[in-house]
C-alpha cells in the first residue's frame, strides 16, 4: 500500500499511523515535520511544481520500495502558508521488521528534502526570505546513494 498526497490541508498523523499498522507488518516508523518558530518567524510559505511534484515523490517512493521490503508507505507534503507549530510533512513506513521501516523512513525524508520540487520562503514581521538549500541536507541524501547495507 503506497499513498502520496500533496495538499494544502492539515492531516491527522494518528489516523495515518493506524492505517499503516493495519498493513500487516511488525513495525511502523514515521517522521512528522513541524514548522519551527525560530527567529521571529511568522509563517512559512511552500511553493511547489504541481505538474511534477506527485510524479517525483512517486519516483522517490519507488526507490525506497526497491531498497527495503515495505508493506506500506505514506507520504503527505503540504504546500501554501503554514504557521509555526503546523505540520508540513509526514512520512510513514510499515515493514515486517523495524530496521527496514526505520531506514526507509529516514531515506524518504532525506530524499524529499533534496529531490522533491518544493521551495520554502520564510515570512518575518518586516521581511521575507527564500530558504537556501543546505549542503548538509544534500550530503545526507547523497549518503543514501551508497549501496544499501
Amino acid at each position: 500500500m503506497t499513498r502520496i498526497s500533496i495538499q494544502a490541508e492539515d492531516f491527522d498523523p494518528a489516523a495515518e499511523l493506524m492505517a499503516l499498522e493495519a498493513s500487516g507488518g511488525g513495525g511502523v516508523a514515521s517522521f512528522t515535520g513541524i514548522v519551527r518558530g525560530e527567529g521571529g518567524l511568522v509563517a512559512l510559505e511552500l511553493e511547489h511544481y504541481p505538474a511534477m511534484t506527485s510524479a517525483q515523490v512517486e519516483r522517490i517512493v519507488e526507490e525506497a520500495l526497491e531498497r527495503w521490503p515495505l508493506l506500506g508507505v505514506r507520504v503527505i507534503h503540504r504546500y501554501g502558508r503554514l504557521e509555526p507549530g503546523e505540520r508540513i510533512v509526514f512520512v510513514g513506513t510499515a515493514s515486517r521488521h523495524r530496521a527496514a521501516a526505520l531506514e526507509a523512513c529516514a531515506f524518504l525524508i532525506d530524499w524529499l528534502k533534496s529531490h522533491a520540487p518544493f521551495w520554502k520562503r520564510e515570512h518575518f514581521a518586516d521581511r521575507t526570505a527564500w530558504v537556501e538549500a543546505r549542503a548538509e541536507d544534500d550530503a545526507k541524501a547523497e549518503g543514501w546513494l551508497k549501496p544499501p547495507r
Binding site: G33, L46, E47, H48, Y49, A51, M52, A55, Q56, H77, I88, V89, I109, D110, L112, K113, S114, H115, A116, P117, F118, W119, K120, R121, W130, V131, E132, A133, D137, D138
Partner: protein, 86 residues
C-alpha cells in the same frame, strides 16, 4: 516545431516577474546552460535571475536534469533554485 515552454519557481520566478513564458525553440543540441545565457542577454529580470547559473537547477519535462543537458525535443523546461522541501 512548437515553441518551448519555460516555467519558473521561487526567486527565479520573482526576478523574471512571471511564472511561465514561451520562447523560440532552440536547436535540439543546445544545452539549458547555453539557452539561459542567451536569455540573460535580454537584461532586466532575466539577467538577474540567470546571473549565477551555479545557483540554478532545472527539469526537462518534469524530470531533474543537469544544466549541461541538451534541451532536445522537450516541451517544458523548468528553471529554479535548489529545492528546499521536507
Amino acid at each position: 516545431m512548437a515553441d518551448l515552454k519555460l516555467v519558473y519557481f521561487a526567486w527565479v520566478r520573482e526576478a523574471i516577474g512571471r511564472d511561465e513564458e514561451q520562447v523560440e525553440r532552440p536547436a535540439p543540441d543546445v544545452t539549458i546552460r547555453a539557452l539561459i545565457a542567451v536569455l540573460a542577454e535580454q537584461g532586466g529580470g532575466h539577467a538577474e535571475a540567470f546571473a549565477q547559473p551555479e545557483k540554478l537547477r532545472a527539469a526537462l519535462d518534469q524530470r531533474f536534469v543537469p544544466l549541461d543537458s541538451p534541451i532536445g525535443d522537450a516541451t517544458e523546461l523548468a528553471i529554479f533554485p535548489p529545492v528546499t522541501g521536507g
